[in-house]
Homo-oligomer: 350 residues x 2
């Protein structure tokens, strides 16, 4: 993942300002309970006395604690309703994110009354993180939209996919969109191949990501419009001479907001997972004051790394002001998150 | 564990100044290779395709990376020399320390070419950290001398074990020594019971700790003499009025340096492990300049927490000066570390 969120010490701390995502977690909560109840075959795991859960892209909490507790309670309920109280396994939870994540903060804010063994796993989920056949439930929330890198062509001035004057694909030439979409497919294939090895047969994987409704043009979805606005603010600053124009040309956001159709096609192509359920979850749009804090907590790091500390305040002020002014435009488009539930099937070629 | 080491950002960083302990790690390295070769029954683990190692009290590296690599190479060698190359398992390494440890530094300095899946596990090793029957090799270096807490009696002015005017037991009344030794036995019992559940039958546990030769009085061993000097510097500062005397009375070091006889008695009493090998390892005494840095990296946190930031420089200057002046006294006593190798045996009552 090329993006990361602000640490706990930051003024715009992710742990304080990630409440916007709670909306999607709450929506997914019931779906995950149903997934465990309807789709999890606990018989097939009975040889293991440990049930292993991971949250990939867990950040530093607290959302991740709510999510894993929900999964664990659902599994416990399932054992109990089947009259198998004595067989309830021990739970081991792997909180995973990039090595640059604030694991110190995560570990120090673990719920003291947790009923699981907590572990931290540093690394990119686009490669292997766990031993073979290790995991029973994989969860990921608002992380799989982050590409492993910006597609190379969009930064290459000699390529037809050069994305000059823009930092995202949604209003760009079709070659740019294709470069992004190809990078997404490649990354998802790496993700699925890694997980196919790590998840036990019959194990479940549920993820929630910001999405695009099927058939809706890239430029007409809430998340992409926000990112387009983000880019236009950088261009405004370049025009004003605050930042160099070629600095903007060499900056693109490694984010892709897929549709369910795209995700389903990639999963089918991979062949290691059955698609058990997909949903477009309506996503509340954040109020401007929440937006301001959320977006800065999530994206400050990227802007700082490329443009330097000194433009941060001006940039985020401009961006949030423009966002407020565009409220009526944003009201006219849908914001959705995708919910995808997969089950690991036998897959001899992996 | 009541002690912790300085973080990477500190002037006296543990990761920079833990070279003194490398001496013991190097001495233990060969013993661990022999342990894997002679005592590890890989046949009995063949149903698992993952070999799980933990370092308990790993701090922030780099010593821990050297130690776990040594264990992994020994296991790989064992498979190869038995002509079982195709059966070499995947390795999963759990780096464990208190939640206050600098895991961010640890994760960011993981060897990039490692051939294991790295996990961090926050928590005290005096309670459960892992699911049942999870671990194949447990390692701990220079950590098990840290008690879970200071024995209560030694801080209680109404107790015959009140340790007035001292911060350690080695020159104190026998009641103080007994309180420390009882706390050590209790903590070790908790440690062994937790590990008994977590280690697979036939799994190995090796630990290295600063020790006391059998039959040698507590006051005549290098580590205890250093700690006694440490306490006398605090008392000197109290006499000079720099710190309050009752502040020293309410401070005791939660450290116990056991002998092999003591360790063996506790392990036998526990009954879940067979003692496969014990050794007194000669421990080089650090030169004064190394001592200065090592001791400050390891103990600054404790002094700061109890006496405040402002006395740190004066205290460590005094302590190190006294240590230099006492070189001839220290030369006359032995410094040893204990090496203990245990194997998990069937134990029906756990």
């Amino acid at each position: 993942m090329a993006t990361r969120v602000n640490g706990a010490d930051s003024l715009y701390s992710y742990s304080k300002y990630s409440s916007f995502q709670r909306n999607a977690i709450d929506a997914a909560k019931e779906l995950i309970k149903e997934a465990v109840f309807d789709k999890l075959d606990i018989e097939s795991f009975s040889s293991s006395n440990t049930f292993r859960v991971t949250d990939l892209g867990c950040a530093m909490g607290p959302n991740t604690f709510v999510a894993v507790q929900n999964i664990i309670e659902a599994v416990e309920d399932k054992y109990r309703t089947q009259g198998r109280n004595s067989e309830v396994p021990e739970f081991q939870v792997f909180f995973s994110d990039q090595a640059g994540n604030d694991f110190n903060q995560l570990f120090q804010s673990l719920p003291p009354d947790r009923n699981y063994f907590a572990m931290g796993v540093p690394g990119s989920f686009y490669s292997r993180l766990f031993p073979k056949a290790h995991l029973h439930f994989v969860y990921s929330s608002f992380s799989l939209q982050c590409l492993s890198k910006v597609p190379e062509e969009v930064l290459d001035s000699s390529s037809p996919a050069w994305n000059k004057g823009r930092v995202h694909y949604s209003n760009s030439a079709h070659q740019v969109v294709e470069a992004y979409s190809a990078q997404y497919a490649k990354d998802m294939e790496c993700f699925l191949n890694a997980r196919a090895q790590e998840i036990v047969g019959g194990g479940l994987m549920a993820f929630v990501v910001p999405g695009r409704p099927n058939e809706t043009p890239h430029a007409h979805t809430y998340y992409n419009m926000s990112l387009d606005l983000f880019g236009s603010c950088l261009m405004d600053m370049a025009k004003k001479g605050v930042i160099a124009e070629d600095k903007v040309d060499s900056f693109n956001l490694p984010i892709y907001n897929a549709s369910l159709q795209e995700v389903e096609a990639i999963v089918r192509g991979n062949g290691c997972f059955s698609i058990e359920r997909t949903e477009n979850l309506p996503q509340a749009k954040p109020q401007p004051n929440v937006f301001r804090l959320t977006v800065r907590a999530g994206m400050e790091h990227m802007i700082r790394a490329h443009f330097g500390e000194e433009i941060l305040d001006e940039f985020f002020d401009t961006f949030c002001k423009k966002y407020e002014e565009s409220t009526s435009v944003f009201e006219s488009v849908k914001a959705i998150s995708l919910f995808v539930l997969l089950k690991r099937i036998a897959c001899t070629d992996h």
